[in-house]
């Protein structure tokens, strides 16, 4: 058995796992595994081999049985996300990815299937530093984005298409089947980063691609919809999201293909690249 100490924003966990699962756990939580053990973790997770597969325990209570370590880890990731959201206190939790572009953070928010994760993936592959996946915690007082760098889960067919067109150079892309691929970024930001941009991707194969800068008033209620329910009162969330919207530059990114997304991201974040040596 091995015990890992996992560190997330405002959340420290321990995870005890049988030796045969250790490589899977290390792969899934690579950037969150800290040295040693926490003296007092907020929650203790345990994995145990049982006659019917693998059991996942949280604080000594069985939360589920799983047929494979992959299924168990997906469930564990989800449970950690929920625990993180509940423990964020007065921070705002966006259902979003985030990357560091220059010295500022870009939060990529949106509804499912609009290209949120693929935008994060493309920005990381374009050389920007990975910060968050699925949950992006933002402190509305300091406007800092706190890293939550989990494995990106993207559609398998998208990953296949991507690999045919571009090299995967800043991480490891593992295609599991046509529905699912997992991307592990090589490097991640470890410190909080000042929020600069909110990007709202909108994928539709029938639309004309383009970038639209939008005002806080136009986007406020939509962005509010991308927040996890607040731990405190609604008014605090409203005020926090208003401040965040006013502080950030907000763009809607209309794409209709992998190529258009890549071109628009380049136009937005790298409009005048250094000329290469002849």
């Amino acid at each position: 058995m091995k015990t890992f100490c996992l560190s997330f924003p405002r959340l420290n966990l321990s995870l005890t796992t049988p030796d045969e699962i250790v490589p899977d756990v290390e792969s899934a939580f690579f950037h969150s595994i800290g040295p040693g053990t926490h003296p007092s973790p907020h929650h203790e997770y345990g994995i145990e081999a049982t006659p019917v597969g693998l059991g996942l325990f949280k604080n000594g209570r069985l939360t589920g049985h799983f047929g494979s370590s992959f299924e168990l880890i997906c469930r564990l990731e989800e449970d950690i996300e929920n625990t993180l959201i509940q423990g964020m206190g007065n921070w705002v939790g966006f259902h979003a990815g985030a990357v560091m572009i220059g010295k500022g953070a870009c939060v990529i928010a949106g509804n499912p299937d609009t290209g949120k994760t693929t935008t994060t993936f493309n920005l990381v592959e374009m050389g920007h530093t990975f910060l968050c996946e699925e949950v992006t915690p933002v402190d509305p007082e300091t406007f800092r984005v706190y890293p939550y760098p989990q494995v990106l889960t993207i559609e398998g067919t998208y990953a296949e298409k991507y690999r045919l067109r571009y090299p995967v150079q800043n991480g490891t892309l593992k295609i599991i089947d046509s529905r699912m691929a997992r991307y592990h970024a090589n490097a991640v930001g470890s410190d909080p980063v000042l929020l600069k941009t909110i990007l709202v991707p909108a994928y539709d194969p029938s639309q004309t691609p383009g970038i639209e800068e939008v005002s806080p008033g136009e986007m406020f209620t939509e962005i509010l919809g991308y927040c996890f329910p607040p731990n405190g009162d609604d008014e605090h969330l409203f005020d926090s999201v208003i401040r965040i919207c006013e502080k950030a530059e907000i763009f809607r990114l209309r794409t209709n293909s992998l190529r258009s997304m890549r071109e628009l991201l380049k136009e937005l974040f790298d409009p005048d690249p250094e000329p290469s040596d002849p």
């Binding site: 005002s215 806080p216 008033g217 136009e218 406020f220 209620t221 509010l224 609604d234 008014e235 409203f238 005020d239 208003i242 919207c245 006013e246």
Partner: protein, 87 residues
């Protein structure tokens, strides 16, 4: 029948826009130009016809269309408890 602002409404500025919400409700509402005008005017109670007249004096356009916009806006204000009516 007069339309009156609810005292439970809180007003928030969002950039150049204005949003309204009632503290025991989940939603917050960013106002469009017409809705903001009506909200501003309702500092004092007015009837539908008085509001319609003021809209016509302030904005250019088709009065029938304005009447429809006003009706829709007031219905939403009532639905979300932002205003109430009094005889």
């Amino acid at each position: 029948m007069f339309y009156k602002r609810s005292h439970r409404v809180k007003v928030k500025k969002v950039g150049n826009s204005t949003a309204l919400y009632v503290s025991d409700q989940k939603g917050i509402h960013v106002l469009n130009e017409t809705a903001l005008f009506i909200w501003e005017v309702l500092r004092d109670p007015f009837t539908f016809h008085e509001l319609h007249y003021m809209l016509g004096e302030t904005f250019e356009g088709d009065m029938a269309r304005m009447e429809k916009d006003l009706r829709e806006t007031l219905d939403l204000f009532l639905q979300y408890d932002l205003v109430f009516t009094e005889s």
